[in-house]
Symmetry: C2
């Protein structure tokens, strides 16, 4: 497999960095090819703007997704976006490795998605979910959290983690057609002992070695929706 690790942490010696290094070691040990996009080290620009396009379909009025399509089709995406998109095309599995900030991605990673998951290639029109542009690729989150497991779930104070991660799991990764594997969650990382952290890291290693055994999350199938994306069974 070709594996792309998209990694976002602002402390090079962080636990997330250890997870990234462990994934690299384990996956290469299994004979896979691995590339890492270390967004902080790359000083990646997360701001979607007019500067992302070398030519414009409409130079007077920016509709970001429409210009993505134009720039993709004309080969005029900004070089940093084009380089990341090449890695996405190359990858069979994309790992997103980051600390949860406000129940989502740190902005530097959110902006990687905003800019790199371009309309016209990754999705567009009815090319979403099981017809998405990244169909056939796997994706997985590997995240750390300050909170503890008991704070999540139907009775937990913060509600269900999988609900809070829906915009990512479904809205981004499922939407573009990836086969989304269950996330690996490292709980309470800043507050646990070194021994516990070593155990969490070992859990990640075992998780990575058993990806094939994990049932992917389920998302809509376009066959169940009509041309206007209304459910076929619905009575209007």
């Amino acid at each position: 497999m070709n594996v792309l690790i998209v990694f976002a942490h602002n402390e090079p010696r962080s636990f997330n960095a250890a997870m990234k290094d462990e994934a690299l070691r384990v996956l290469e040990g299994e004979g896979h090819q691995v590339q890492v996009s270390d967004l902080y080290a790359m000083n990646f620009n997360p701001v979607a703007s007019a500067a992302d396009f070398g030519s414009r379909a409409n130079p007077d009025y920016l509709v970001y997704a429409l210009e993505q399509r134009h720039a993709f089709n004309t080969g005029t995406l900004a070089p940093d976006i084009a380089a990341e998109l090449e890695k996405v095309k190359w990858a069979d599995l994309i790992l997103f490795n980051f600390p949860i900030y406000w129940y989502g991605m740190p902005a530097i990673l959110k902006g990687w998605v905003d800019r790199v998951f371009v309309s016209g290639f990754c999705y567009g029109g009815r090319r979403i979910y099981d017809q998405g542009g990244l169909k056939g690729k796997k994706a997985m989150l590997a995240v750390s959290l300050g909170g503890q497991a008991h704070m999540f779930g139907p009775e937990g104070i913060h509600g269900e983690l999988e609900v809070l991660l829906q915009p990512i799991l479904r809205g981004m990764l499922g939407y573009v057609g990836c086969t989304v594997l269950p996330p690996y969650v490292a709980w309470h990382v800043p507050y646990v002992s070194d021994a516990e952290r070593a155990e969490i890291l070992d859990g990640y290693r075992r998780h990575l070695l058993s990806l094939d055994a994990r049932a992917p999350l389920r998302f809509p199938s376009l066959a169940d929706y009509d041309q206007n994306l209304r459910p076929k069974a619905a009575v209007d």
Copy 2:
């Protein structure tokens, strides 16, 4: 009221910009004070990093939230963060005006939250939800979407919009203690006629004039949880 509009769109003539201008006009017309943080115009930096702190609790190892607390307490937050935090303190109502990107905020706005909602002031320990640091302030989303209303909801292909917005509504705004009003959603904006857009804008005006009549969203009350944030009624 003091109103802060946090605005994020990369096209100055966009519909979102028209919403921002309309809010400014309507709210000032009602006698409120309004400030706008126009993140693209400000070239706001959304990347949470070590550069955000003028002094460090631990110069050797960055734990972002811990350094936020230290920098807040010692008055050494980066000037751009400190300036935004002053606006947050000043505001009775914060409006977040943005186009939905991947079921969330554009990265430039996500990073505003990452950097400005500082630990130690906006939240910390048990100072969350109804005990949050921004208790007493109201917050509301005013968003545009490419999708149509029928694509959302229990039967909609994308699921329920309110579920997809949970990380923002609950995980950010409810978490820091804001009274969160229901979002105003401008559907299908890039694809509708000028007349329809005028109608959506008028709906926003009416929404803004009737904020007091809107029931806020409900989030946990800390009184229902013990010291470890376990539900008090739970049997372990």
